[in-house]
Every structure is written in C-alpha cells, then in structure tokens.
C-alpha cells in the first residue's frame, strides 16, 4: 500500500512540473502588452503599468521569469495580488475553510442521498422504484448546480427568508465556535452542489449493483441464507462500490470547479470566489496561485481515492 502511494506521488512530479509550466505560461495568453493589460488596460497610468512590470519582472527573458516564479511556487509562494497587494498564499489560506466546508458538505450530501438511492434502484432493477429514480437522477444531472443555487436562493432566502442569501459564516468565527450559523450558511451551497453529486453517484452505484447482483458469489450469499439486507448491504455493496470509487476522482474534479461558481453566487468568500475576482480584475498572480492550489488538492484527493480503492479491492494490495 505504501508502495502504491509512493509510486503515485512520484508520478505526480512530472505532471506538476508541466502544470506549473502551463500555469506560468498563461501570461503569454494575455492579450496585448501584458503589463498594460494587467494594470487595467487603457485607463492605467504609466506608474501603474511600471509597477506591474517590476512586480512580475516582465523585462527579464521568459526563462528567467519562469525560473524565478517556479522557485517561489515550490515554496507555495505565488507573490502578491496586483490589485490588493496582499500575499496570495495567505489569502488562499484564509479562504480555505469556506471552500473546504462547501466541498466536504456537498460530498456528504452526495453520499447520503446517492448511495442509498443507487442501492435501492439497483436492487429493484426494472421495478417502478428503479424507473422513478432513473427519471429523478436524469433531472438531477440535467440541472446545472449554479442554476439550482439561484433557484434555491430565490425560494429559501428571498421568498421564505429561512437563510441569509449571501455571505458565509465559518465554523470558527470571531466569537468562537458557531456551528448553527455555519450549518445555516452551508446548507444551500452544499445542497446545490451536492444534488448533482448524488445523482451521479446514484447512477454509478445502481450500475455497480446491477452488475454485481448477477455475480455467482451473490448467488452463493443467497444460498447461504443471507437476508436481502445482508446481501445488498454487505456482499453487493463493497463490490459495487469499486467502480463507483474509480469515478470519484472525476466527481471531485467537478466539485472543485463547481465550488468556484457556487461561492460566487452565494458571495461566500472562499478560494473559488477569490479566483473569479482575480479573473475579473486580471490579477495574474491570484489566478496562478489558485489554479496550482486546486491542482495540488485534486491530485492529493485522487491519491486518497486510490488508497480507498486498494482497501475495497484486496487484489490491489498484493500486486
């Protein structure tokens, strides 16, 4: 198992080198003169343009710029924001709890709804419950999370007034723990993001269950006298979970993207909204920093998924 993790971490290195190179090269995509554009375009004063030019070292050859940028980046130093002048890394750190809450919250909702529904549909394959859930998950997959978020705000915040439509209260606030306020501000974003996850998971689990139900070892479990609960909950579940876990990486990649737009809709001050603000302001260091951090998080999650797969599938451990 350790070997597996080690190998995956090693494989990560060339990928990260390429990703950081790509992220750095984003500057070449900036239209026109980078310094002028990044300083705010035609309205920028010569002083502002000059400031950007020195801060990013744009006069140096590209190779030198890259060397400087990447040697900082490995220490997770992405420089300072062009607009606010604040350190990008500490800004990301400050906003991380919001993003983590939303991502984890939506995963929890996805698992809590998606797995039972998938098991139910798979165990009742072809029945009316299965057909109903198929229709339901189709709808769940078709409504984009940001549309759902807007509808939720309209119904629960504006019309019913149950929650605050904007802003986000962290679990640890200025006056200590505030789980109530945290959950209240977490509920809608996590639900908006989690419903799509639930639908996808339910589909995947259903397929896994249907395939597994036809396996001879499930017949053995019936022949042993297992109750339907044991057959589905024990014998089918662990095997059906395997193909589900392999798509988990994909799902989480979608979630990271999703949180960007969800945060900006709920005005939750997380890493995602930081990225959107950075994009709107043409704040290159912010964009670079957030993208690298997201890639890193995504890679770590994928390794965690591999470990989980190893736990589910005993064949992986020996090979």
């Amino acid at each position: 198992m350790l070997q597996l993790v080690g190998r995956r971490l090693l494989l990560l290195i060339p990928t990260l080198i390429l990703v950081t190179f790509g992220v750095f090269m984003l500057i070449t995509l900036v239209p026109g003169d980078p310094a002028t554009t990044l300083a705010g375009g035609e309205n920028a004063t010569p002083e502002q343009i000059e400031k950007v030019r020195t801060q990013l070292g744009l006069d140096d050859p590209l190779v030198v710029q890259y060397g400087r940028w990447v040697s900082d980046a490995v220490r997770l130093d992405f420089g300072e924001s062009l607009t606010s002048g604040q350190d990008v890394t500490s800004e990301i750190q400050r906003r991380l709890p919001v993003t983590l809450s939303i991502v984890v919250g939506s995963i929890v909702i996805g698992l809590l709804i998606g797995i039972p529904l998938g098991l139910l549909a798979g165990a009742r394959q072809g029945g009316w419950i299965d057909r109903f859930l198929l229709a339901l998950t189709s709808i769940g997959l078709a409504i984009p999370n940001f549309v759902l978020a807007i509808l939720f705000i309209n119904v629960f915040a504006v019309n019913l007034g149950w929650v605050n439509p904007i802003g986000f209260d962290n679990l640890v606030g200025e006056d200590g723990l505030q789980p109530g306020a945290w959950l209240k501000s977490l509920a809608l974003p996590a639900l908006a993001l989690g419903i799509g996850v639930a639908a996808r998971l339910a589909r995947q689990v259903r397929t896994g269950v249907v395939d597994t139900m036809n396996e001879p070892y499930i017949r053995t479990a019936w022949a042993k006298g297992c109750s339907p609960r044991t057959v589905v909950g024990k014998h089918v579940f662990k095997n059906a979970a395997m193909p589900t876990v392999t798509v988990a990486g994909l799902l989480i990649g979608g979630l990271i993207g999703g949180t960007v737009i969800i945060e900006s809709i709920f005005s939750a001050n997380g890493v995602g909204q930081y990225l959107v603000n950075g994009i709107n302001a043409g704040d290159l260091p912010v964009i670079q920093g957030v993208v690298v951090m997201f890639v890193l998080a995504f890679a770590i999650i994928n390794i965690a998924v591999d470990i989980m797969y190893g736990w589910l599938n005993p064949k992986v451990q020996v090979s």
Binding site: V19, F146, N159, P228, V260
Partner: protein
C-alpha cells in the same frame, strides 16, 4: 475465422510437400485470412444501420433529438420566430407578464424575454456544437498518431494530457477564458482546450487496441502504407466510442458554457446569452422570479436533451444494458433478491386451486383446455384424491416419509423469453433419501441445473416462473415458504455448491469472514467460536495451514482450493442435504477426483444426503447410490446406480453410456449422440427423444410419453420399454452414423 482455421488444419506440413504446392497452399490460406480480416470493417455498414434503427425505435432519445433539432431550427431562424429585437428596450413595458405580444413577458429593461431566449439559444448552441466539432477535429489526429506510432510522440502526448487532466476541468476553462478575456470566440477556445485531452485519450486507447488486431498486422504485412492503415482501418474502430463520448459530453459543454457566461466570460451584456439572462434574472429575483425561471428551464431542458440523446446513442451502439442482462439471466445462472419474494404471485394458481370454493372453476378450466397438470395439482391439494394423483405421476413414497429428505413432485417451470413463455421443466419428479447420493445426469441444457437451483428458489423470477408442482423438504413445501422460512432453510438445512468455484466466493471478503458469516446467520455463536469452527472445517476439507488461510482472500486460492472452501462453508451448519451443481466441471481432472472423494467422505462424516448434478457418468458411477436421468426438461429414467450402469432402460440413458470415452477404444472415434438436445421453444411432439432415438417408431411421435414405474425402485419414460433390447444396439447401422470429428 473458422474458414482459415480449417484451412490451416487441413494443410499438412508444407515441408513434406512439393515446394510449389506448399507455397501455393500457404499463399491461398494467407490470402483468405487477409480477405476475411480486411472484410471486417465493412461489416460495420450494417452495424451502423442497426444502431440507427435501434436509436430511432427508442422513443425517449428520439423525442430529445427532435427537441434539439427544433431548438436549432428556432435559433437559426430567430428573426422569423421573434417579433422584437432582443436588445430593444421598451421602458413602459418593464416586467410585463406573458401576453400575445410578449410570449414570455419582458425583463427589467422592457426587453422581450422570448426573443432574448431564442437569440441566446443561438449563442449557446453555436458554442456547444462548435466546441464539440473542434475538439473532435483536434483530438482524432493527435490520438490516432499517438496510439498508432508509440514512442516519443506518444509519451509526450500522454504527459501533456496527464497535466491537462490534472486541472479540474472548469478551473482550466475558467483560467484560459479569464486570461483571454470575455467573448464567444475565447469561450470556444477555452472549452475546446478543456475537452481535447479526454478525447485524445479515448481515441489513443482505441487506436492502440485496433493496432493489436490481426487484420492490421495482416494489412501491414502486405505493405499497405501506414497512413492508409490509420485512416482506413483504425479510424472505423474509433468512430463509435468517439461518437458516444462526444454525444455524452455535449451536455457538459453546454453547462460549462452557461456557467462561464454567467460569470461574465461570454459575450458581454447586453448581448442575450443564457448566462447573461440568468445573471440579470438573479439581480431582479426579488421583483420577478420568471426572469430566472425562463433561462433556468431552458438550460435544464437543453442539457437534459443532450444527455438523453447521448445515452440513446450509447445504447444504440452498444446495446442497452438492460437487454444484455436479461439475456444472461435467461441462461439461468443468476440469483436475484427476488428469489425470496416474487415467487409468490406465481403460486396464485396453487392458492386458487387449493381453495375449496374455487374447485369447480378449476375443474371447468381443466376440462376446457385439457391441461392435466392442473387437475393433478387440484387433486393433490384437496388431499382426498391422492391415489389418483399418484397414478398420474410416479411418486414412490408418501410425502412425509421420514426416509425421504427431499421430494420434488411434478415441478414445472417456464422461462420468459422474447418469444413468450417457454417450458423448461415438465413435471419433474425426484426424490433424495436420507444419507444417499442421488446423481442427476443429462446433457447440457436438459434442465438439471435449473432443477437444482429451483430447490432453494435461486432462479431469478422473472424470467423463471414456476407453474406447478411442489418441492417438499422433510414434508414442507419450499415453494410455499415465507421469505423468513426460506432463509432459515438456505445454508442451514440445505446447502449448495456451484459450478464455478472461481467466481462463487465474494472477492471482497476473506475466506474466514465468509465461513464465519455462514454460521452466524443461522446460529447464535460467538465470533471466536465460529472462527475456531471455520478453521476445523477448512482442515476437514483438506486445506493446509487452515488457521493462516482464514485471513486469505479468495483470489489467493486456486480453483480446487476455492471449491474446498465453498464446501467447508456449505457444511458449516451440518446441513441435511447438500446440492452440488456440477462442482467439478470447472476444475482440472486430478482436482476433480479429489473433490469427488472429499464429497464422498464428508457424506459419511456428516451423514447428509447429496443431490449431485453432473454430466459426467464416470463421476456418477464412482459416487452415486441412485441416478435420475434428465432429457429436455423431463426425467426419463430413475434407478439405482447399479441398474443404470448394467441395464439401462431408456434409449437415452443407454446412448449416454455408450458415448463415454473409454481407454483403449479406437483412436479418432469419439462416440457421441447424434443431434442436439431440442431447445425449449422447439420441443418435438410425442417422446422428446424420438428425433435422436435409434428405436423410434411412428407411435413415439404421436403422444407425450408418461413416466412408468417398472420396478420397486425404477421408472422409465419410454413407450417401447419391454419391447426393445438396448443391449443389441444397432451401432453399425449406416443411417445412424455416430458423429465423427
């Protein structure tokens, strides 16, 4: 394949022949092989036609496709189907509701919502479809080249796509679109970059797989240029998975496009994009929810339509998952949870018949369609006319005879197929006595596995449906048991082992866990005690180092070891009856013998009865006390093993015996019974064996043959029994030539 194979085997060693002839022969077989191989992609024409037909027949994807075509039409002819300019502000008409003038009302600036929606569809569909197009145009050549020429180019492409795929897709698109600045063109670039790496990987994988195929090698060996191979031979392989993938991701592109344009990265306001409409509606939400709902519903419906079309394309090209599973179910190799429940409705017939009030009706029914089996069931259920029922079927003992463990009476079973219900078992009668091993033999497809699996009700219903009869275990009818009762019998009183030991243990749990579970389902034993017992059991079935092997997973066991473990598990609760469904078929010969010996020994030690299903008469001779022979869903002969092997009474039994390979027999003459077991759907009239029987006369084809009791312990289903002498078999009759290889 077969042609070229035959050709190869027909060609004697070329070195032995005149060189010219040898060359000629070889050339011919190679060119034939080539012709066949090269013909393969051409078959895809009918493949496409079939897929298209399947797609058109599927109502849901067709409806979705129609919707999308309609949407494209509306978008194309936007100026014709709208009455207002999308950006024309009529300030006195702000927030007007739906009317004949403004079909979907107006927004906060008095702009016509319907018009903005249709013009918005133009942009959304343009972006979605062009991203799909450009992504394919880029991904196909890159993927093909990468897959076809491995080496540095391939490595570089793989690394690059790895890196791109390691960025969460929306973040990638967002970063690129954000740096490039807002606008439709930049969105298309960003989304295309996001889609390409996944498609490249797909095309590369297919190209790699296609490269391995024979006909590519063949075509390369005759000097076809690589370029031609790639585009003429490899590309067709790539097309259908690519088509599926693209049609599935179009929905995703639409959603990401809407997200990005909502974030302000599409055409800037006031241009009517769906994202901009949503953004505007969000700001005006407190005033008029309609302004959110219209774009939200449009985005949802379009995504749904793309997804449904995508699923439809996949199903059409690869066949629906449901249909495929159905077919495998019919093979009778599966067990579903419905085994516990939905058998009940099938017993409605029985319930109704056993109800005294319904009796007259049943009799009327019987008279009408002359179905004797219902009369039998009715008679038996009433109890009063049991004598009559016994005369009709051929039971040997009273239902509650303590010497009998299992008694199957007149079990009839049907399978649901695409062509309606077909009868698989026809009034099967069997009994297993205490302590004996009954061999159930017959060729493949004669119903022996179905019979054995129906005892514990392991057949999935549907497609299986029991239409009559009873399965009495110690006098209790398994078919009438509640789910709870059935569970308490399964694995406790009746255990079962199966044909495929490799797949019959759960790969995700240790052997020990599975044996412990078997005990703790049925008995209140501590985990420690169950583990000790599991160790004893493994030891008993001859697995060395039992203690250590409890923690092993099934994949660490060989096939023979797995069957031993399964036997250990089956014995965990001292069952009264062990059903062994061809337990040695999948094992090699030496292991087979060990398993047979093990079962024989354990039968003594556990003083249990065994129902041993097999097609191997050698096994029967070694192991069984009595034998039941099945043919085409019927029991055709039952007798003691000694009787069967010395004096078979049914022509089928005798033919089976003669078709056993014997050591020292003439080489090259492997005897077998000519013809095939008739399928359930094409059952011959009269005696079911008459089509293959050496002794058949006209009388045999006339009416169905009942089973006759011919001795204290023997029964046979043959009207010519007594008049034919099976020992004088017309082996040399030229018209009944046995099959030769």
């Amino acid at each position: 394949m077969t042609d070229s194979d035959l050709n190869h085997s027909a060609v004697p060693d070329p070195a032995m022949m005149e060189p010219a002839i040898a060359d000629h022969l070889q050339e011919e077989s190679t060119s034939q092989m080539l012709a066949e191989a090269l013909a393969k992609p051409n078959r895809s024409t009918s493949h496409w036609r079939r897929a298209a037909r399947r797609f058109v027949r599927d109502p849901l994807p067709m409806a979705a496709l129609t919707f999308l075509i309609l949407l494209v039409g509306l978008a194309l002819f936007a100026p014709l189907v709208t009455t207002h300019e999308p950006n024309h502000q009529i300030l006195q008409d702000r927030f007007s509701g739906m009317s004949t003038d403004h079909w979907l009302g107006t927004d906060n600036l008095g702009r016509d919502t319907w018009s903005r929606l249709i013009y918005g569809a133009r942009i959304s569909l343009l972006i979605t479809l062009s991203v799909g197009f450009f992504a394919v145009i880029l991904a196909v050549p890159i993927g093909l080249l990468s897959g076809f020429y491995s080496g540095k180019f391939d490595v570089a492409i793989m690394r690059l796509t790895d890196a791109m795929l390691s960025v969460p897709p929306l973040v990638l698109a967002l970063a690129i679109a954000g740096i490039l600045g807002p606008g439709t063109r930049n969105l298309i670039i960003a989304l295309t970059v996001m889609m390409v790496p996944g498609l490249v990987r797909l095309v590369r994988g297919q190209a790699l797989a296609a490269r391995e195929e024979m006909y590519i090698d063949a075509s390369r060996s005759i000097g076809t240029p690589a370029r031609v191979i790639v585009f003429r031979r490899v590309l067709p392989h790539v097309v259908s998975p690519l088509l599926v993938q693209v049609s599935i991701v179009l929905g995703t592109i639409l959603v990401v496009e809407a997200s990005l344009s909502y974030l302000g990265l599409g055409d800037p306001p006031p241009d009517p994009t769906w994202g901009n409409m949503l953004q505007d509606g969000f700001k005006q939400m407190a005033n008029d929810a309609r302004l959110i709902l219209v774009p939200a519903i449009a985005i949802g419906l379009a995504t749904l339509a793309f997804n449904v079309v995508g699923d439809g394309v996949r199903d059409a090209l690869y066949g629906t998952g449901v249909a495929r599973r159905r077919r495998s179910d019919i093979l009778g190799t599966t067990g579903t949870m419905f085994g516990l429940k939905s058998i009940k409705p099938d017993l409605d017939v029985l319930e109704r018949i056993s109800d005294p009030d319904a009796e007259t009706q049943t009799e009327a029914e019987t008279a009408d369609d002359g179905r004797v089996e219902k009369a039998d069931v009715a008679a038996r259920a009433n109890g009063a006319t049991r004598v009559h029922a016994q005369a009709a079927s051929a039971p040997w003992s009273e239902p509650n005879d303590p010497a009998t463990v299992l008694k199957i009476r007149d079990l009839s079973l049907e399978f649901e197929t695409n062509n309606g219900m077909v009868e698989v078992l026809d009034k099967v009668n069997l009994e297993v006595r205490r302590g004996e091993i009954l061999g159930l033999v017959g060729e493949s497809g004669c119903g022996k596995t179905v019979t054995s699996q129906s005892i514990l009700r392991l057949l999935p219903t549907p497609p299986a449906r029991i239409t009559g009869g009873e399965i009495l275990f110690e006098g209790r009818d398994v078919l009438r048991m509640s789910a709870k009762e059935l569970q308490s019998i399964r694995g406790r009183e009746i255990s079962m082992i199966f044909q495929d030991p490799m797949a019959s243990l759960n790969p995700a749990y240790t052997i020990g866990n599975q044996i412990v579970e078997a005990q703790r389902i049925h008995r209140d034993v501590s985990k420690a005690a169950a583990e000790t017992r599991a160790e004893e059991l493994l030891d008993l079935v001859g697995i060395p180092d039992a203690r250590d092997r409890l923690d092993d997973y099934p994949h660490m066991f060989s096939g023979g070891m797995r069957q031993r473990a399964l036997i250990a598990m089956a014995l965990a609760n001292d069952p009264k009856l062990l059903i062994a469904d061809e337990p040695t078929t999948a094992l090699d010969v030496t292991v087979q013998a060990q398993i047979i010996e093990l079962i024989s020994r354990l039968r003594e030690e556990f003083s249990m009865s065994v129902l041993f299903v097999t097609h191997d008469l050698g096994v029967v001779q070694d192991l069984c006390d009595r034998v039941a022979v099945m043919y085409a869903g019927q029991v055709v002969e039952t007798a003691s093993a000694a009787q069967v092997f010395t004096a078979p009474q049914h022509p089928y039994t005798s033919a089976l015996l003669r078709s056993r390979p014997t050591i020292g027999a003439e080489i090259g003459h492997l005897p077998s019974i000519a013809g095939l077991v008739p399928t359930a759907a094409n059952m011959p009239e009269g005696c079911r064996f008459h089509t293959r029987c050496d002794f058949a006369t006209d009388a045999c084809t006339a009416t169905a043959v009942p089973i006759l009791r011919i001795g204290s312990d023997q029964a046979v289903r043959c009207i010519r029994h007594g008049e034919i002498d099976l020992s004088q078999h017309p082996d040399e009759r030229p018209d009944l030539e046995v099959a030769r290889p």
